[in-house]
């Protein structure tokens, strides 16, 4: 008989980063008629703090959720691997990377279904008069989130932690000279206080579908197949190397340029230093926080050195 899952999103319903999940739910409800349906109950913060959505789901309040890994790093400390990945998700499913991650998530009663959306790489955005031409951030005071704190510090920046709603105020008052954000996820309200975007981008801003493990295991094979089919279908389409993702990036770059944000592209050695430092600082921190699982995850999630 038909099973109905209780679904929630880590974003407000209708807000841009949550839309892919909502579309995915419609697709599942279309293909899953008579087998599996998702009743989308709502999104954070209306249903509570986004940081607690996955925790509550694991405890049985909901069955399936769409959230970026930052919102479940609180219960699965290995979650940042999902944004540091350098090989495609298809390869991760081949080489056992996802299986190993699932082994870890099992302990928290979480099923990793797939990465259904990707908001592009993280860029550094800078204020007027704060342009850089080298992989050197000395003298800049940057707003950070834990994603890139270590990276910016390693390049000499002073950093200031703030929540997302404070970014505008900090930039506007000149308290910070810049901030990091995913290229496709930047808030339109920040555009007037932003002048430069620094290429190359680093890491990935991805949004994942996760489920309550007990509930997942209780589903019929047919239901699981439908869910896997849709989620992994989106995962493949959104691969950073795919034509679709590249086209999305092009559109975003164009839009940013039209609103007056200039692109600074680091080249050659400087670009190498930029990307290399991003990679090294993040994985060092990751292994420090996950000494047991970290090294193996790094091996599986990055191309061999």
């Amino acid at each position: 008989e038909e099973v109905t899952l209780r679904g929630v999103s880590c974003f407000p319903i209708g807000a841009p980063p949550g839309v892919p999940f909502e579309e995915m739910v419609s697709e599942i409800n279309e293909k899953g008629k008579g087998v599996v349906q998702i009743n989308l109950l709502g999104g954070a913060p209306a249903i509570g703090s986004p940081f607690q959505v996955v925790e509550r789901m694991a405890q049985g309040a909901y069955d399936i959720a769409g959230c970026p890994e930052a919102f479940f790093g609180n219960i699965i400390p290995e979650a940042p691997a999902l944004r540091l990945q350098e090989v495609t998700f298809a390869e991760l499913r081949e080489n056992g990377g996802i299986d190993y991650f699932q082994e870890i998530a099992d302990k928290k009663n979480v099923k990793f279904v797939g990465r259904h959306h990707d908001d592009g790489a993280f860029n550094l955005f800078l204020a007027e008069g704060k342009a850089i031409d080298k992989a050197d951030l000395t003298g800049l005071n940057l707003r950070v989130s834990p994603v890139y704190t270590a990276f910016f510090k390693a390049l000499g920046a002073t950093v200031q932690r703030s929540s997302m709603p404070e970014v505008y105020t900090l930039m506007e008052s000149g308290a910070v000279d810049g901030y990091g954000w995913s290229v496709r996820g930047i808030s339109p309200s920040w555009i007037p206080v932003t002048k430069y975007r620094v290429e190359p981008g680093v890491y990935r801003a991805s949004i994942h579908t996760v489920a309550n493990l007990n509930k997942w295991n209780s589903l019929s094979d047919e239901a699981r197949a439908i869910l896997n089919d849709v989620v992994i279908g989106m995962e493949t389409r959104m691969e950073g190397t795919s034509d679709y993702a590249k086209q999305l990036d092009e559109e975003t770059f164009k839009k940013l340029a039209e609103s007056g944000i200039e692109t600074i592209t680091l080249e050659g050695e400087e670009a190498e230093k930029w990307v290399g430092m991003a990679r090294q600082t993040a994985w060092d921190e990751f292994i420090e926080q996950n000494p047991e699982t970290g090294p193996k995850l790094k091996e599986l999630f990055t191309a061999a050195d």
């Binding site: 209780r6 109950l41 709502g42 913060p45 209306a46 249903i47 509570g48 703090s49 940081f51 607690q52 925790e55 509550r56 405890q59 049985g60 309040a61 909901y62 703030s162 929540s163 709603p165 404070e166 505008y168 105020t169 900090l170 506007e172 008052s173 000149g174 308290a175």
Partner: protein, 491 residues
């Protein structure tokens, strides 16, 4: 559940406990439990107790997430005023202003307006402002036969200016919760604040000229003007150096020296704080913290004149660590009171949103097809009504989700200038400080006024000033540039 039922239920719970006398923060918390179980936890829709109980269990974490760094500015702005108050420097400054003003009708009322305005620019707290003027000037005024109406009214009215002229704890709260520019709002309050002070000034002069009995003129003792001026530098109770002046400039020097010594260092604090925000040199939090240090530094400077440097007619400040400790304790108390309400009401805001009450009400208002100006008027009328019964922080937090917060708020939908709207909201809240039955400054006045003054007299004395504030509000509605001109220079 229909949106208006949800709205009535949530607001009903808050108001029920509020009027029973439960402290505001706890009235919000009672509503949080209902709201979280019914709406966030979905009990009203799904009737499933698992989600509801897990939602209640995760509610406490929301309180932690509600407290953001920008709220720390409030404590700093409160501390600035408390330091000047507890060290006695504020009293000395008012004394200096008193010497400066002579031969005007209602002289002491004018002193309270000028002194209150000066102190407004040094304190983020309306209550500190009213309390200090009430303590210093009111007994003197009543003893000299001032009518209570002209004695208490200006003191209370000028207290409210503290929330318009920066530093202002409430302006920081308003802008940071609605995710608008704190700096621009602080700057926008300056002109309306001084305009308000000037209107009070004019009113007192006209009223006292028409009816001199309200403020009987009295002979001030001007003998100090002819006292020889001695300056001495001392160390360990021995005079190292001293000079006495009796020349022809003695009178003006005796009159203006206290002002030079007290007012200018204090005014420079205002310039530093507001200037560093204006020029984007520092964030409001940083400016506020530097303001605290500057206030402390100024107090230390005034302490020099207690023993180290003695000047005839200048008392100097006399304080120790105990007074600084008291200033910190007062700050902690008021800060906890404010932020406790904020933490409690943010979950409430979420419950309102998820229950559909916020959207429903906004849709209903939008469906009325009003012009943006009428929408602004509707907002002001609602705030004036709430202000009669509620404290400023609660009324802000109750209405912000509808008025200012997010892309579907009235401000966004009708494309109203947010800075202008926030200044209007601040003035409306200022009116609320004086309107019975719940007017915070009325209570403060009742606390500091001598026995025998009835609450009815206090309310009557506030009435003309409420009308003046409404007139200024009207002017700002008609001429928005009064509020938006200065911020536009900063942009």
């Amino acid at each position: 559940m229909e949106w208006y039922l949800a709205l009535t239920l949530l607001l009903g719970v808050v108001c029920f406990f509020l009027f029973l006398g439960l402290p505001v923060a706890f009235a919000f918390m009672a509503a949080n439990i209902f709201g979280t179980a019914l709406f966030i936890g979905g009990l009203a829709v799904m009737g499933d107790w698992t989600i509801a109980s897990l939602s209640l269990q995760s509610m406490p974490m929301e309180f932690h997430e509600a407290i953001s760094y920008s709220l720390a500015t409030i404590a700093l702005f409160l501390l600035m005023g408390e330091i000047l108050l507890e060290t006695g420097v504020a009293f000395k400054a008012i004394g200096a202003i008193e010497r400066l003003i002579s031969r005007v009708p209602g002289r002491l009322s004018i002193v309270s307006i000028v002194g209150g305005t000066v102190f407004s620019s040094l304190s983020g707290s309306t209550v500190a402002n009213t309390a200090i003027l009430g303590k210093v000037l009111l007994p003197d005024m009543l003893r000299r036969g001032y009518h209570p109406a002209i004695a208490m009214g200006p003191i209370m009215a000028v207290g409210g200016i503290a929330m318009l002229i920066p530093p202002s704890a409430l302006a920081v709260l308003l802008a940071s919760i609605s995710q608008k520019s704190v700096a621009l709002l602080l700057v926008a309050g300056i002109i309306p604040g001084f305009l308000m002070a000037m209107s009070f000034f004019a009113y007192v002069i006209i009223r006292c000229r028409l009816n001199p009995d309200l403020a009987p003129p009295f002979e001030t003792d001007y003998s100090y003007l002819d006292r020889p001026l001695t300056i001495a530098i001392n160390s360990r109770r021995r005079t190292l150096w001293s000079r006495t002046y009796t020349g022809r400039w003695l009178r003006p020097v005796n009159r203006f020296l206290p002002t030079l010594l007290y007012i200018f260092p204090l005014f420079s604090i205002f310039v530093v704080v507001v200037g560093s925000i204006l020029t984007n040199f520092a964030s409001p939090t940083e400016a506020a913290a530097m303001g605290c240090l500057a206030a402390f530094g100024a107090c230390l400077f005034f302490r020099l004149f207690k023993n180290r440097i003695t000047i005839t007619g200048i008392e100097g400040a006399d304080f120790g660590w105990a007074e600084i400790g008291k200033a910190l304790m007062e700050t902690a108390k008021v800060n906890t009171m404010i932020i406790f309400i904020i933490a409690g009401s943010l979950v409430f805001t979420q419950a309102m949103a998820v229950s559909g009450a916020t959207q429903g009400l906004l849709k209903a208002v939008t469906a009325l097809d009003l012009s943006p100006l009428s929408v602004v008027l509707v907002m002001i009328v609602i705030l004036l009504f709430l202000g009669a019964f509620m404290d400023q922080v609660s009324m802000l937090l109750l209405t912000l989700p509808f008025f200012l917060l997010g892309p579907s708020s009235l401000q966004a939908v009708y494309d109203i200038d947010p800075i202008w709207l926030m200044v209007l909201i601040l003035i409306t809240m200022e009116v609320g400080l004086l309107t019975p039955p719940f007017g915070l400054l009325l209570f403060v006045m009742r606390g500091v006024a001598p026995d025998g003054i009835r609450i009815g007299q206090i309310i009557n004395s506030a009435l003309p000033f409420i009308l003046i504030e409404l007139a200024v509000l009207g002017l700002l509605i008609l001429v928005p540039s009064v509020a938006t001109w200065l911020p536009s220079l900063v942009k």
